[in-house]
């Protein structure tokens, strides 16, 4: 069993309620932070912990906090990003659904450190019942003096508000999220100014992911140095991974980042192997936006070294032969899956979610979907593959926000690693409508069921 810092108590009956959470030692860390620590020392511990943002970009949380502007007389805000809409990702939902008070405790400590008297949780609109759970938890925490005015007699006021979105992946991008929180369309803003200077209502704002803010609790509890000892290198602490696709045990797992990809997929403690005795074909290890990897490059790097479930190892080899940790959405494809079709569903997703502000993203995502549809339905030409490659290159790096890149990367990686599967579709138009390309040479060379 690996170390559990976030989900340790997830299975305690009734942990969702204040009474049980408190009985299990909950809010003791918040008490310590508010009563015994200074703002500076809290930020310092988070810096020392090496905690990197869990929303996808992996930016060091302590450093982000230290950027927040503190102009005299202007309120500051902490916003918790619970938009969680990256396909393959469902870890924040798990945390909020089962441990709402852990998130609230993390938010309270973080709000205190940042000086946010009104903190918002921006939750995707579809998680309506999760929003209800959070609201209930807020009522309980307020009743017990952990939220409201003059908390624990420290003079610090803090209220946490739940704000439901209404269906838009782009609102996970922090400036689009802020626009949405202001009651507008979710169009990302041009940066600078960064939210830390001018964010919500043009006030200094920090936006952090749910898991990042929950991790503040164990960090303050054990101290930044101790936290940093868990994991490896710059991948400190634990990470939640939501595993899905063709595995025996889909679900949310907390890992310390020293486990190998192979163990994560095949051990019974985690994914439990590929479902139905099939073989592993490919994996998207960090949410739909990150490059897909064929089995052989997933389990071992191009240099033939074991690949591990951490930021550095997953991106070993760059985009040529590696991928990314991303949001921790771990999607497994078995031998029966068609890469063209999978890529098509993702292209459709990004076309649907593009906010339309920049033409390379708006037009490019539409074109990519159309061409992939053409190839998938047996009408493709060889030149379509080059056209796809060309379009994704023109999107990448030419847009206001990273959604453009996020749409381009999956297509690029699919062509990079599975070009022969695309060609097979084109050369076997009729056959491709009734059967699959299969495994070919991509298969995981290690685990072949008897």
């Amino acid at each position: 069993m690996g170390v559990k810092l976030l989900l340790e108590k997830a299975n305690v009956p009734g942990i969702r309620t204040y009474d049980v959470y408190r009985r299990e030692g909950g809010y003791a860390t918040a008490e310590k932070a508010l009563k015994e620590m200074t703002i500076e020392s809290i930020v310092e511990e988070v810096k020392k912990s090496g905690l990197r943002g869990r929303g996808g970009a992996g930016f060091p949380a302590g450093m982000k906090w230290s950027f927040i502007a503190k102009p005299e007389g202007v309120p500051r805000h902490l916003v918790c990003n619970a938009d969680e809409s990256e396909p393959g990702t469902f870890k924040d939902r798990y945390l909020m659904e089962f441990l709402p008070h852990l998130l609230l405790e993390g938010l309270l400590i973080s709000s205190f450190a940042l000086g946010s008297n009104d903190t918002y949780i921006y939750i995707r609109g579809e998680y309506a019942w999760v929003a209800d759970i959070l609201e209930e938890a807020i009522v309980e925490a307020t009743k017990n003096g952990w939220l409201g005015k003059n908390i624990l007699g420290t003079g610090f006021d803090c209220m946490i508000h739940v704000h439901r979105g209404a269906g838009a992946y782009i609102c996970g991008e922090e400036t689009a999220l802020i626009e949405s929180l202001e009651g507008k369309r979710g169009n990302p803003r041009i940066k600078p100014p960064f939210p830390a200077i001018q964010g919500l209502w043009m006030r200094p704002t920090v936006v952090n992911n749910v898991e990042t803010l929950a991790a503040v609790v164990p960090i303050i509890k054990m101290g930044g140095d101790e936290y940093a000892k868990i994991g490896v290198g710059r991948s400190t602490g634990t990470k939640l991974i939501s595993a899905c696709g063709n595995i025996n045990k889909p679900g949310v797992y907390e890992i310390d980042m020293t486990i190998s990809v192979e163990d994560f997929i095949y051990s019974d403690e985690y994914c439990g192997g590929i479902a139905n005795g099939k073989r592993l074909k490919a994996c998207i290890p960090g949410g739909s936006s990150v490059p897909i990897l064929p089995a052989n490059l997933l389990l071992k790097t191009a240099k033939g070294e074991t690949r591990y479930m951490n930021y550095e190892s997953l991106s070993d080899g760059g985009f040529a032969t590696g991928s990314m940790m991303g949001s921790g959405g771990f999607i497994i494809l078995d031998e029966d899956q068609c890469i063209v079709k999978n890529t098509l569903t993702l292209a459709r997703f990004y076309r649907h979610e593009s906010c339309g502000q920049c033409s390379p993203c708006r037009e490019g995502t539409g074109w990519m979907e159309k061409i992939l549809q053409k190839i998938e339905s047996g009408k493709g030409e060889v030149s379509d593959i080059d056209l796809l490659w060309d379009i994704q290159r023109k999107i990448e790096g030419n847009t206001i926000c990273p959604l453009g890149d996020a749409a381009a990367w999956p297509v690029a990686a699919a062509i990079r690693h599975f070009r022969d599967e695309f060609e097979w579709h084109i050369h076997n138009r009729a056959l491709s409508q009734t059967s699959n390309f299969g495994l070919q040479h991509y298969a995981d060379p290690i685990h072949v069921p008897a």
Binding site: R93, A166, G167, G183, G245, P250, G251
Partner: protein, 167 residues
């Protein structure tokens, strides 16, 4: 004006607006549109959007802009129960296509359509954050996960019974 929040809905409206600072009441627009949609039959006629504009003291265009941007707001009438089935990659590789086809045959409608009796609407949606519990769909506030043909049958029967009980 005929569309109006009743007392209970008005209390909820005030609770939502109170979350934002003075003068920033426009921030309540998304939550208030959810409330309006839930209160006025599952969709947002222009009249409802105009009403929300008045309540929040903003221009109607500011409401239309937002209502048309977000996928959860219905701008056309929908059935009593909307089946929003996820069709994105992770669900697709876990068998969502068969489930979608099965629902289409059982209800006799295509995605985007409503059954003649006005009970069911079928919508295909993108990832709902339930990829590990696929195939899945959202019906109202609830997620229906690990769908099989048998489960779909049972769910349809359950909602039909609910409607029959109300009549």
């Amino acid at each position: 004006m005929s569309l109006q929040f009743n007392n209970e809905q008005m209390t909820e409206f005030k609770r939502l607006v109170a979350r934002y600072p003075e003068g920033k009441q426009k921030s309540a627009l998304l939550p208030v549109l959810h409330l309006a949609q839930d209160s006025f039959g599952g969709w947002l006629p222009t009249e409802a959007m105009d009403y929300v504009a008045i309540l929040l003291n903003i221009e109607p265009i500011e409401v239309y802009e937002v209502a048309t941007f977000y996928s959860m707001y219905n701008l056309k009438p929908v059935g009593k129960f909307v089946f929003e089935v996820c069709q994105t990659g992770p669900c697709m590789i876990s068998g969502s296509e068969n489930i979608i086809t099965y629902i289409q045959t059982q209800l006799g409608i295509q995605p985007g359509e409503t059954t003649k009796d006005g009970i069911f609407t079928l919508k295909l949606v993108e990832c709902l954050g339930a990829c590990g519990y696929a195939p899945m769909m959202q019906v109202g506030k609830i997620y229906r996960e690990h769908l099989t043909k048998e489960k779909v049958d049972a769910i349809i029967a359950e909602y039909r019974m609910q409607v029959a009980a109300q009549n």
